[in-house]
Symmetry: C2
């Protein structure tokens, strides 16, 4: 049985509910989301198999998850490099970036030139709130993700995919199929078109919230903050 | 080689530095600390060996770590019960408590009556900022921790122990020797007198901070947020 999915409006409502009546702070949720991302990457690519990780960070919360993941990966023994071309004046993202600078994690301004020395890429550019157009400088980055032979783990959505209708018919995201996806809290409808390895993370969903939003709590094991699930086709 | 220790003044300074120039929020640090505590408990007592956990929560940040641990333990399949007799009007602690109520985790007002059905206790009453006197209602709770046959995991310090000079010569904490201790960020000087199993958690210390405070980064493995270390004698 495939896990039930969460559309973009319901995902936004669930997030809002977690942070209001659910009493979570964005700091807390982002820490747990980014931790999940780092654990999925570890399962895909243990550090001894190659530890250079390039993290493409977008301007919103999906990017924030990538920043948190970069920090945890560093502590696991990886060598993360961060590409963060649009850095909003948001206090939380600035703090997460400072935490990376304090670990001497390099920030690069040139995504493509890093690819030849990268073992795995994390695509945390756009998440469930993405719709419409891919703005500069991200079209060329998404084209590089599409064309590169370096495997990619996408966070919540392959960037540029429509959350409900999946892969785009045109633009740089046409033909972009990452090797792995981590869905946060619950899979989004786009997973119907996704064919790679699929993880779910965000081990904080209550039974009551799962019932309200008609979701399944995935079968996490032991201490894991992430679980691999069958393709949602 | 035993890990170097962190005295109470230095621990307070390090915490303050993490939350100022280090750019961490208390929410974030408490989430990671509580997660470490939950992982140490899991290593001591996997849920299939008995999953009823009683968590004694004090009025400060040590208590907050216990609240976070309770939530993670619930997600791992434990049945936590929380004893939280002094609940300050602190927004963060209130939010962490709400997160537990939303999971239907019970709060008890009677610590002793729970002991007969408890498999493991977490002592998150007092941490590195404790000094001086144990105020009501905690003397009887610490006496119960001392006398109970249920094993105890203490968070950062066995409650009522002096952070620098260890076990007290009088009062309910005299003769209180928990089975296990998790030191957060770094062991405190009291570990010299501690004879149980010893864990270290808080996998966020930078090399620069470790050098500045003359600490060791403990040998974490894999994805673990906690590591068992030899006795610090």
């Amino acid at each position: 049985m495939a896990l039930r999915t969460l559309g973009p409006k319901a995902a936004a409502a669930l997030d809002q509910e977690l942070m209001s009546t659910g009493a979570f702070s964005l700091d807390q949720l982002m820490e747990l989301a980014g931790l999940s991302v780092s654990q999925a990457l570890f399962k895909l690519q243990p550090p001894q198999k190659g530890n250079c990780i390039l993290i493409a960070v977008g301007p919103g919360n999906n990017g924030g998850d990538g920043l948190v993941a970069a920090r945890h990966l560093w502590h696991y023994g990886y060598k993360p490099t961060v590409y963060y071309p649009k850095q909003p004046k948001n206090e939380l993202y600035q703090r997460l970036s400072q935490q990376l600078r304090d670990l001497r994690i390099p920030f690069t301004e040139d995504f493509s030139s890093q690819l030849s020395t990268t073992d795995f890429i994390i695509d945390s550019i756009f998440g469930f709130s993405f719709s419409g157009e891919v703005r500069e400088p991200f079209p060329s980055v998404i084209a590089a993700l599409r064309d590169s032979k370096v495997p990619v783990l996408a966070v919540d959505a392959p960037s540029s995919w429509n959350i409900e209708t999946g892969p785009p018919d045109e633009g740089p995201g046409k033909g972009y199929n990452p090797d792995a996806l981590i869905s946060l809290t619950a899979p989004k409808p786009l997973v119907k078109w996704f064919e790679g390895r699929h993880f779910v993370g965000g081990r904080f969903l209550t039974q009551a919230m799962a019932e309200k939003y008609e979701l399944d709590i995935p079968p996490y094991e032991g201490l894991d903050q992430v679980v691999e699930v069958p393709a949602n086709k």
